[in-house]
Amino acid sequence: MRALVLALMLLGTPAWAVQPDEVLSDPVLEQRARTLSKGLRCLVCRNESIDESNASLARDLRILLRERLVAGDTDAEAVAYIVDRYGEYVLLNPPARGSTWVLWAAGPLMLLLAGGVGLVYLRGRARTPGEEQAPLSANEQARLDDILKD
């Protein structure tokens, strides 16, 4: 039984994220490769970058990326090379091109909108004096005081 389990274990062991044999000897190139691979998606995984992923496809992509860097590609060229082959789905950080600018602008636009509405509201609050008197009935006021007392 135990031998069987051990055998299964050896068969079942996954490849890990970046393996020692992938690491480039030039630390500067390796650092660039690590940074770039954090922004590239492992295509067969759910929401993992190739830097983190254990999948063999991710390993292939890591090696491919390093080959491009060793061949002298700039960061942009190496990424473009991979995007050409795997589509923009591979980018974890969608560039603000075409319809994607909506995604990038959504936050700032919403802040402007919400800020504007808030400002209008604040001006309204600041300009309506005389509403301070509570239009509560005596009964309600008594109950409210009762609750707020302690």
Partner: protein, 665 residues
């Protein structure tokens, strides 16, 4: 192995009783939904009074059903389909228990159990609510229960039987067999479902057509409790990911994580706006809208996890039919509540008048920032779907987007926090509010600059995080100290400050600590990957890692490969680490158990990998600065919430027992 026999008759009876109790609870919930609502409308006290015993009965029956399911898991009753799919007779007891909710059906049962629990608590502690409001709150809460009971009974029944029980089960996903993760889902559900209580209060108030300071006070404890549970649940999940997934990531911006983060952001906004309703009777309709949306995002979270619409590492047991059902529940509650809101919101006249510069407006800015941050997370999570539907583009939105698009709002929030919290209500003079903070600001800038000077890179993230952390922590302390007035006995007065003030200070400081931790970890972590021969050693920064030995051994339901690693700092031994790799044969899955040397300033994180063909083992080493600040900050936030919750003014039953007590003041 083949010791299995058919479960005795009595044990099977318990399962049947659980199933029956669940159906009965569904019936009770329907009664609780209809009768008090009609009663409140017609002012019939007898009908309204049905709500309280019904809420108790609904909770007791659901508890019985949940207990029966847990019993089936603990006793390994493999005549239940769910137990076969998610358990194994050799699994440790803790994970047999947590296995009850480690699957879709069981977790939905836990979900309704908590809905019923909150309803029962509102019934028991809600003695001081006006009778009509109380009846309506319990009725709305029961409606939520009805929807989810129907969902469970018709699409995800945990009590389904197998005609021929197998000898053993298929085991729980090994990743879930961990103490941290065992308690992550219950806390999250307590949080999600806690927001159902706020939702019920909001809808009941809309039906009543009035909201006053007292409403703000009643709703706050529920929001606070939900927010505390969400904080703990999210922190547990994040901590688990950190030590379990094997490379020390703590947040992945995964759709399901986002699904828990969005309600947290809105609950935080709601906490602050409910203060304005309570103290100043303003921001009423906005607060109601937030209460509706916060629960809406909880439902969206459920929908995302269960439907499989967005794939994620968390997705379990997803099924389009269930997705459609949850979508219908969501459409009904959100649509209904928002229509009611549109019809009634105008009636919610604001009363308080305040100037542009005041605590009210600062809290409004807080709400705008939190809500917009939530919106950014929402659109980022949904964008891959939207882009494919409308623009025919298949793209990914991952951590780099969220880090860039979300962080600025948190930075702004951190910048205004100490200023806003130092402002008085109604009308503030900005220079007076800033005056006590100027030294704090200078000191915080100095800390950030120091960090910039001693770090090796030129990244601004780390220094910015430390600056914000110092600014918030010191600012909030100075603020509390400033409230003790002048002259003698300030320390004594500090001790006598209301718990809510202490809670505010502690929770805000927690946010600052977490921000500093996140920034420090992200900016300054180091890693090293290499193949190490047995007995070999290597340096990472000022640390030396030495691989002494690697052993294989057998665990209860897994086999383990454990390394013995000695960690040295400047040549002196500081720790013995045991990084472990497990393999679960039944589920055919490996897991990593990283060995971590914890420290307040840094973690040293060691992971053992595969044996290499040429001898030796792959070892990964990470130096992760300030990591523990993230969890300490979360713990402080939760503690601050608890302090606030324990303030006698905000007690759930505040005012209820008043007739029996002599007022303290």
């Amino acid at each position: 192995m083949a010791r299995h026999r058919a479960p005795p008759y009595g044990r099977r009876m318990i399962t049947e009783l659980g199933h029956f109790a669940l159906i009965l609870a569904f019936g009770v919930a329907i009664v609780q939904m209809v009768v008090p609502l009609v009663g409140a409308h017609k002012r019939w006290p007898g009908w309204m009074a049905v709500a309280e015993p019904a809420a108790g009965a609904q909770f007791a029956l659901t508890l019985l059903a949940f207990g029966a399911l847990m019993w089936a898991f603990v006793s390994s009753d493999f005549s239940l389909r769910l137990v076969v799919l998610n358990s194994h007779s050799m699994k440790p007891l803790l994970y047999k228990i947590s296995g009850t909710w480690g699957n879709h059906e069981g977790s939905m049962l836990l979900w309704v159990l908590i809905v019923a629990l909150f309803g029962a608590m509102a019934a028991w502690f809600g003695g001081n609510l006006p009778p009509t409001l109380r009846a309506r709150v319990l009725s709305v809460q029961a409606a939520i229960g009805v929807a989810f009971f129907a969902f469970i009974l018709f699409t995800s029944n945990p009590f389904l039987r197998l005609a021929t029980p197998p000898f053993d089960g298929q085991d729980l996903n090994p990743l879930l067999q961990d103490p941290g993760l065992a308690f992550h889902p219950p806390f999250l559900y307590l949080g999600y479902v806690g927001l159902s209580m706020t939702f019920s209060f909001a809808v009941a108030a809309l039906i009543e057509g009035r909201i006053d300071a007292a409403w703000g006070r009643w709703v706050r404890p529920w929001t606070l409790a939900a927010w505390i549970f969400l904080t703990i649940g999210i922190a547990l999940g994040s901590w688990w990911a950190y030590y379990e997934l094997g490379w020390g990531g703590f947040w992945f911006w995964d759709p399901v994580e986002n699904a828990s983060f969005m309600p947290w952001l809105l609950a935080a906004a709601l906490l602050h706006s409910a203060v304005v309703v309570e103290k100043r009777e303003s921001l009423k309709s906005w607060t109601i809208l937030l209460a509706i949306l916060a629960f809406g995002f909880s439902l969206i979270g459920t929908f995302i996890v269960r439907s499989g619409l967005l794939t994620s590492v968390h997705a379990f047991a997803n099924d389009p039919e269930r997705g459609v059902f949850i979508l219908m529940i969501m459409a009904f509650f959100m649509g209904g509540a928002l229509v009611l809101f549109a019809a009634r919101a105008r009636a919610l006249e604001a009363k308080g008048v305040f100037s542009m510069v005041s605590r009210e407006s600062a809290l409004l800015v807080n709400n705008v920032l939190l809500a917009v941050a939530c919106f950014v997370v929402f659109i980022g999570t949904m964008w891959p779907l939207l882009a494919e539907m409308f623009f025919d583009r298949k793209l990914s939105v991952g951590p780099p987007f969220f880090n860039a698009a979300f962080t600025p709002f948190m930075v702004m929030l951190g910048l205004i926090l100490p200023i806003g919290s130092a402002m008085p209500w109604k009308r503030a003079v900005i220079t007076r509010a800033l005056k006590p903070l100027r030294y704090v600001f200078v000191l915080a800038i100095a800390i950030g600059a120091l960090a910039y000077a001693i770090q090796s890179g030129r990244s601004l993230l780390g220094p910015l995080g430390l600056f914000l952390g110092a600014w918030i922590v010191m600012g909030t302390i100075v603020d509390l100290w400033g409230r003790t007035g002048r002259g003698e006995n300030r320390l004594r007065r500090l001790g006598r400050m209301p718990r809510a003030d202490w809670g505010k200070m502690v929770a805000h400081a927690g946010l600052g600590v977490t921000m500093a931790g996140v920034a420090g970890l992200t900016a300054w972590s180091m890693d090293d990957i290499r193949a190490v021969p047995l007995g070999g050693s290597y340096d990472v920064g000022r640390y030396t890692v030495q691989l002494d030995d690697v052993k294989r051994s057998q665990g209860p339901n897994y086999v383990s490969t454990t390394g013995s690693v000695t960690l040295l700092h400047d040549g002196a031994e500081i720790a013995q680490l045991r990084p472990e790799k497990r393999f679960y044969p039944v589920a055919q899955m490996p897991t990593t158990e990283a060995a971590i040397d914890y420290n307040l300033l840094r973690d040293v994180y060691v992971v053992i990998g595969d044996e290499q063909a040429g001898g030796g083992w792959v070892v990964r080493t990470y130096i992760k600065p300030l990591t523990n600040w993230i969890w300490i900050g979360c713990a402080l936030m939760a503690l601050g919430g608890l302090l606030s919750l324990s303030d006698r003014r905000y007690r759930v039953a505040a005012g209820a027992a008043k007739t029996k007590q002599v007022p303290a003041q």
